[in-house]
Amino acid sequence: MKSPFDEMLDATGKARPHYQVFHNWLKQQSDTLMGLKRAEADLIFRRVGITFAVYGDDLGSERTIPFDQVPRIFAAKEWEQLEAGLRQRVKALNCFIYDVYHDENIIKAGIVPAEQIFNNAQYRPEMRNVSVPRDIYAQIAGIDIVRAGEGEFYVLEDNLRVPSGVSYMVEDRKMMMRLFPDLFQKYRVAPVEHYPDLLLECLKSVKPDDVKKPNVVVLTPGMYNSAYFEHSYLAQQMGVELVEGKDLFVKNEQVFMRTTQGPERVDVIYRRVDDDFLDPLAFRSDSTLGIAGLLSAHRAGNVTLANAIGTGIADDKSIYPYVPEMIEFYLGEKPILNNVPTFQCRKPDDLAYTLANLEKLVVKLTHGAGGYGMLVGPASTKAEIEAFRGHLIANPDKYIAQPTLALSTCPTFVESGIAPRHIDLRPFVLSGKTIKMVPGGLTRVALKEGSLVVNSSQGGGTKDTWVLEE
């Protein structure tokens, strides 16, 4: 197997043009200094409380997500192409969600089979023929991207429900500026810290029609949620209330929050609670995180939920293979970003191929997330593959398979010094009156040598992502 594409160094070991200055700078830094900087970063993250709660542990034990000081750098040109592809894709995905809850044109056209939609657990019949402001369902999208070669980007996954990680994008930038201010004099790095402003503008632009000055809130499952820091951070940065389900109630199909001065109307909810838990009257009745009657207020058009209920139908891994066709169908454009070729194990031919090639493929649950329940063929032992084969044969509908991509690597500071580690990228796309993005995203890095799993729940870290200005 040829060695993977490295973000900093070309095949001859020379720094790529946009990494040149950084490469020279890095050579002058001692490992001791880099070690000290890393310890400093960890200390600051702890003091500032940018931490994950560790479930089932003692009083208040928390950990930080490892932060790596070597940035992932994009040249302006390359980012331009990537951004255009992301905008196109998210636009098409929103058209698709509108379509499956209204006219079903894509089904009538025979592009996506009806059973793939209506038998999908992520399809919410409650949303049929419900209008949402500007016909936008996924106001906030996090699209996972990997690079296989020069200019060769693949979309790994679309996250259209409650994508997280954006606070790390901003905090990683602040940390880099704090640790290495001199680097920002050598490079013109496009800023990302205005993300909360764009988010607020986006949320306000999807307010219910009859509201003049919308009251926006962030809905969190509470402080024990692992992303609580991010919920609280975004609410604070936008200057809006951070609410839990118990702070809200519905009366006459309108949503109110309980304040020290009495009830106050709420118009837009940036919710970080999954569909299933949003409304005990409509979905899981045992949910204590939701608000009874919220769905009725949503359907009546008195409150906007961002993202809307039912967006999961478009980010399901079983729908993923159809996204390139969606782009052509709704926008009449050629897809800019590649999809990873995907074998749908529900199809007998695809299943047969998958079973015959398990050692070469990555097999994933269609509804899975967080790197759980997946098989990375090339990195697994014979026994692991055989055990997985059993699961696959028992429930082929639940799985898809993809060839193992040669994920690009980026130099990363690890125990043994600077060494290449695999990375991915999650940029965030905001859809409101217009589609907006900040130049950058969250770069996740698999800290274990050779590992392709970047999820923080599986020991992944993060890097600052730089998009250079021309």
Binding site: M223, Q236, E241, T259, T260, Q261, P263
Partner: protein, 325 residues
Amino acid sequence: MLSRTADCLYWMARYTERAENTARMLDVNHQTSLLPQPEEFLEQSWRKLLTISKLEEAFMSQYDVVNRENVLDFMIYETSNPSSIVSCLFAARENARVIRGKITSEVWETQNTTWLELQRILEARNQADPSRLLEWVKHRCHLFRGVMHGTMLKNEAFYFMSVGTLLERADNTARILETKYEDQASLKALRAENKSDDEAGVDFFDFYHWAALLRSVSAFEIYRQIYSDQVTPKQVAQLLIFNKQMPRSLVCCVNELIPLISEMKNQQSKEIERLLGKLKASLDYSDIDEVFSQGLEEFIEQFLERINHIADEFSNAYLIPLAVA
């Protein structure tokens, strides 16, 4: 502001103040326990510290004897004891974490750093010197209030924190005074029975006893400055109850609460204003002689009942989510 947010602000401040006052109470007991005195009295004064916080039963279910080591252990470290310093600092930090968006990052980082430093202290708890630890707790709580006053907007959030601080402080000053006063009375009785000590010895002990109490509320120098006189129980009580300038006195706490509540008026706050006004009037039109003729203990019991009633009303008016209008 969300009622739940107000609740967290209020409790963050109350727990911080409680941690400080627990430290103060333990410190005064620790200091007085170093004075020469009969064994049984020593035990009684540690026991009293538990009863005043209604913790005797919980304590006895875990320890065999009431002594300095056990009580310090229970009141500083024990996580099953909701009034222990560790529990208070944890609760304060957890509340702060919930509403970190509503306080300045400096206030949050102060609370968080206190908690992180405490983790390190806990790791080496066998070597911890109680006096130094208690001193540290007081410093961290001072720092919290200083950062709060120095960085926060003087808005609703600030008021909720201030009310929490003042209600807790009034309650705690009253309790410290009551414990020590009773201690003193029972010691006198004990000595009268034994008749073993000469008069001078009792006076001598008195001085250290009351001086330690004053120090525990940072009032020893203040006492000297105001009275330039011997330390007498009556004047100590007068200072801690009636002095309008003394920041931990009962009158001072009540006086500071009144303008805060009128800033925060809502449809249900009338009753609190009435109760506070009444309490202020009864303090304004009373004096230390009247208190002593009524009995200090009874006076303090009444005060505690009234201030806690006000705290309950406050919760009802602001912190418990209002019903649908």
